[in-house]
């Protein structure tokens, strides 16, 4: 075997081959030659970058993936939104190496119905890594989270992984708009499901969860990197579409003492980057459809994704990954289907001085 192919095998050590053990796989590839494996490797340049970075700096660096905002309707696996989620699940399962875990960013369902959760659970079941679920407003307002909690557990939690403290919040709580109007559960759901609802109420994390967060963070060292998952952006972007969290400043204040904080949020269905003091914010792509950028309030650091081609279902949508660096910072990758991936590295966003113009809507 040549030196060159040995080099390739070095790289292969970092690839997890699902059911097959590494030793078994290496034996097989050595017999068969490494041509197949290396050509596959060449087809994934974005993943190779991640691998190289991981090789350089040791075990504490890791990658996790996200899938978000699938908005499933209870219309079977052939519905376009179900097909899109299936595609994301297949993509994540094809990642080599596999991510340490997967975060589902909320809005698995469109109308909060059990049949939608059931379909969603079935589609995401094949995901190999550990899955953390976050709740979105579309999951919540039909029965105020009852079914979602039965399917997926607590909407608020925290966990530690390789020296990083992760928090999952339920940030889609709003004041009661339904009791006085005697809305039916479906009326309440549809009111919330309309993004451009002029009577819509702003999202909040709420006092109770803020108290929980304060207590949760009390035991975390100030130097520990903190990553917060929330469905709504934990800042104020555009109120008329509820790209907004009303008590964002109060949540940011709880995160202020920490050296390295990243918020990763769903809901906005677009490439979105922001930084407020010590907190970096990244959006997640939707698997279902892209939202246009709002007419105002787009954060300065955001490099806008191109306007999606309406004739291509998979344009402007996708899933993504986050690579946690040795310093606890996040390099975020948006895997836009049918486009090149967009990588927003922590280093890169520190160099941005001016608003980056993009397509207007």
């Amino acid at each position: 075997m040549s030196t060159e192919s040995n080099g390739k095998n070095e790289r292969l050590k970092h690839i997890n081959f699902g059911g097959v053990s590494r030793r078994e796989f290496l034996k097989t590839t050595m017999k068969a030659g490494v041509v197949v494996a290396s050509s596959e490797y060449m087809l994934n340049p974005s993943q190779s970058m991640v691998q190289q970075v991981a090789m350089k700096s040791g075990a504490e660096e890791f990658v996790f993936a996200y899938i978000s905002d699938s908005h499933l309707l209870a219309r079977g696996k052939e519905h376009r939104f179900a097909r899109a989620l299936t595609k994301a699940v297949e993509d994540v399962n094809a990642m080599k190496p596999q991510p340490d875990f997967i975060l589902y960013g909320g809005d698995l369902a469109q109308l909060g119905l059990r049949d939608e959760f059931s379909l969603g659970k079935e589609i995401i079941a094949p995901l190999k890594p550990k899955l953390y679920m976050m709740v979105g407003e579309h999951d919540w307002y039909y029965d105020m989270g009852e079914a979602w909690k039965e399917f997926f557990g607590k909407p608020t939690c925290s966990f530690d992984h390789k020296g990083v403290h992760f928090v999952v919040l339920n940030s889609i709580l709003v004041e009661d708009y339904w009791s006085e109007k005697k809305m039916t559960p479906m009326e309440r759901m549809l009111f919330m499901a309309q993004l451009d609802n002029p009577r819509g109420r702003p999202f909040t994390v709420g006092e109770e969860q803020r108290k929980w967060l304060k207590e949760d963070l009390a035991g975390v060292g100030r130097g520990t990197p903190v990553v917060v998952f929330s469905h709504s952006p934990l800042y104020k972007y555009y109120r008329p579409w509820n790209f907004w969290t009303d008590d964002a400043e109060e949540v940011q204040a709880l995160l202020a003492p920490f050296k390295s904080v990243t918020v990763i949020h769903g809901h906005t269905h677009q490439v979105l980057t922001n930084k407020i003091k010590n907190v970096v914010f990244h959006g997640m792509l939707s698997t279902a459809w892209p939202w246009p950028y709002a007419p105002e309030g787009i954060p300065r650091l955001t490099v806008q994704m191109d306007r999606a081609d309406p004739f291509n279902q998979f344009d402007g949508t996708g899933w993504g990954t986050a690579a946690v660096t040795a310093r606890g910072k996040i390099d975020k990758t948006y895997n836009l289907w049918d486009r090149n991936p967009m990588v927003v590295s922590y280093e890169k966003l520190l160099t941005v001085k001016e608003q980056v113009a993009g397509p207007s809507y």
Binding site: H71, R75, D196, P292, P295, Q313, Y361
Partner: protein
């Protein structure tokens, strides 16, 4: 209207706005005759167009006195508009202060308009102001059409798979009605907004397309156009 006529018109008006060329005339018009009589007593100047049928009473300005330039331009603009749109006998009053205009057409009671641009509307309406009732009916009818469109746009009824227009187009964003007609490269033909609406109904929404004169189609167009009114137009971008 030919250019020679316009030159002639301008010439007439220039003459008319010369303070010394203007003179008060008695009028057979009942309603306005009092004003003309008063004009001799109060500080007013009456400017008459060359057809003798259009008069402007300029308040706060003595007969024979040179008007401030802005006022003289307003008088010229007013007479030009009146000459252009009708053959009727019209008396217009310009108050001493404020920019509104009062009009009496063929002896009808005075009607107040905010600007010369509003005059043609009054004239086609026989010199009568639109009543509040009329305005309310018109606004209600227009809003009914837009509201019907809003409801269709925000419900999955146009399609068959639970998807609605607003899911991709909140506040009708990204629809750009002002850019049609245009060559839609994905369709390989020049299309109108309604063609794109039908494309969305048939494809992402998996429904049956609407006839072009379907009331639902008109309503959806009405909502989109009204929602996007006044938004930035960016040629070549969409």
């Amino acid at each position: 209207m030919g250019i020679p006529y316009k030159i002639f018109l301008c010439f007439c008006l220039c003459l008319a706005t010369l303070p010394y060329a203007a003179k008060a005339e008695d009028s057979s018009v009942d309603n306005a005759s009092n004003d003309l009589r008063q004009s001799r007593e109060k500080a007013v100047q009456v400017v008459t167009a060359c057809d003798g049928r259009k008069k402007v009473i300029v308040e706060g300005c003595q007969e024979g006195e040179a008007m401030p330039e802005q006022k003289a331009r307003k008088v010229a603009e007013l007479l030009m508009t009146l000459m252009e749109f009708c053959e009727d006998e019209i008396i217009a009053k310009l108050p001493k202060t404020g920019m509104f205009i009062q009009l009496s057409v063929n002896g009808m009671p005075y009607v107040t308009v905010g600007d010369t641009e509003e005059i043609p509307l009054i004239l086609v309406h026989g010199g009568k102001a639109h009543t509040e009732r009329e305005k309310k009916i018109w606004a209600a009818e227009m809003n009914r059409m837009i509201t019907e469109g809003y409801a269709l746009f925000h419900s999955p009824g146009l399609g068959k798979n639970g998807i609605s227009c607003d899911m991709c187009h909140p506040d009708a964003s990204n629809t750009h009605p002002e850019t049609y007609p245009k060559y839609q490269t994905q369709m390989n033909k020049a299309v109108l907004l309604r063609d794109m609406i039908n494309w969305c109904i048939e494809n992402p929404m998996e429904g049956d397309k609407l006839a072009e004169d379907d009331q639902k189609m008109k309503a959806v167009e009405a909502y989109i156009i009204s929602a996007r009114a006044g938004k930035k137009l960016e040629p070549g971008k969409h």
